[in-house]
Amino acid sequence: MRQALRLPAALLALAATPLATAGVLPEDRADLLYHRYDGGGVVIDGPSLLVRKKIGEKFSVSANYYIDMVSSASIDVVTTASPYDEQRDQYSLAVDYLRGKSTYSVGYINSSESDYEANTIFASVSQDLFGDLTTISFSYKRGKNDVFRNLADQRDPDFAEEMDSRTYGIAVTQVLTRSMIGVFNFDTITDEGFLNSPYRSVRYVDPLSLEGTGFSFQAEQYPNTRTSNAGSLRLKYFLPYRASLDGWYRYYTDSWGIDAHTGEIKYTQPWRKFLIDGSVRYYTQEAADFYSDLFPRRDFANFLARDKELSTYTATTLGLGVSYDFTVARFPWMQKAQANFRYDHIIVDYEDFRDVRVSVAVPGTEPLYELTADVFQVFLSVFF
């Protein structure tokens, strides 16, 4: 929950992923993954284990155990708090039921850390239509979260808040030609309760500040509700020499005033037993209405935010993945296995979030903050 624990977390709820074809259950598989995020003074790493298995011909069950081990000395932490270490554990269980051309899915996810407890249930139904050219999915997710606060590594007994979240989703997957398929997704999410961080602060002009910096900090204050709408379109094309090209665009808007565009292009090229993926992702957003890097005075407005993820910024991500297929003769039950490696490099340019670690004469003239991050994944997939 703390300021910097905003990274690699869930690896989850794979059953909640809308199926490309509703009339087929996913393959039996086991995945063991190690993930590591390193950027902006934050390192988060850990393992994840996923097992998916059919039971009979109509049911498929999946279970996931995931760990985040966080070591944080982010810019937020070093300017207003102290570096810390934390661990988050997550369990999820999901069941798919196939009936004719429909698939029904339900699942449960629990995420637990020292100052945050999240319980989520979800359900979805997918249906194949029009000669199996179209698949429509409806999904619903409900999350109940308990928010706590740690003081000097102990839970503050006087602080306990709640947050509820609901997600309504629809997905339409469409076969367009012999070589092209598309999917449209739309999600509405409503949050209600304690939505800000109990740790994060906002900055305001204070000529009398004790440190002589010309500014001071006070606790951030967000609205108690947030509603967002996001729509996306993905098109995937099979190239004649056996490769694929994937383009994705998403538009996002919410009741806090954030507007965001996301675009991504992926290219996949097989080569012998290898599969090579390259991707470029671009993201841009406008700040929330109540965001400011430096407020003119204390208690300037009812709602105050200086979370850099609510600011105006752009982010570019370059990704490269390599997968190697193999079999093991000693294990005849194993249909095949894959050794996978993926690396992503993220570059974030903030347009109105300043690096207050740099001392300047006039508050608000500090250099803009920039962040780069490296994301590594190594995983082994076994199909049986």
Binding site: P8, S111, G231
Partner: protein, 80 residues
Amino acid sequence: MRSAARLAISLTAAVFGVASLAGCAPIEPWVKPYERENLADPIMAFDRYPVSTSYLDHVFESREGARGATGSAGGGCGCN
């Protein structure tokens, strides 16, 4: 909230409306099952590495203001 709910209801009605047309006039599939060799190739799967995709989606979601409509789903956490 109300406008979002209305939008969701409208979309649902539209989808069911389109789906109901299937009962009026059968739509001839323009891509036959035996013509789906390319689409069935593993390199055309939307989510070939579900573990990796979910992880990356979460990396982005917890660092960005935007959320949703990615095609995958995660549970809550104190990552904001």
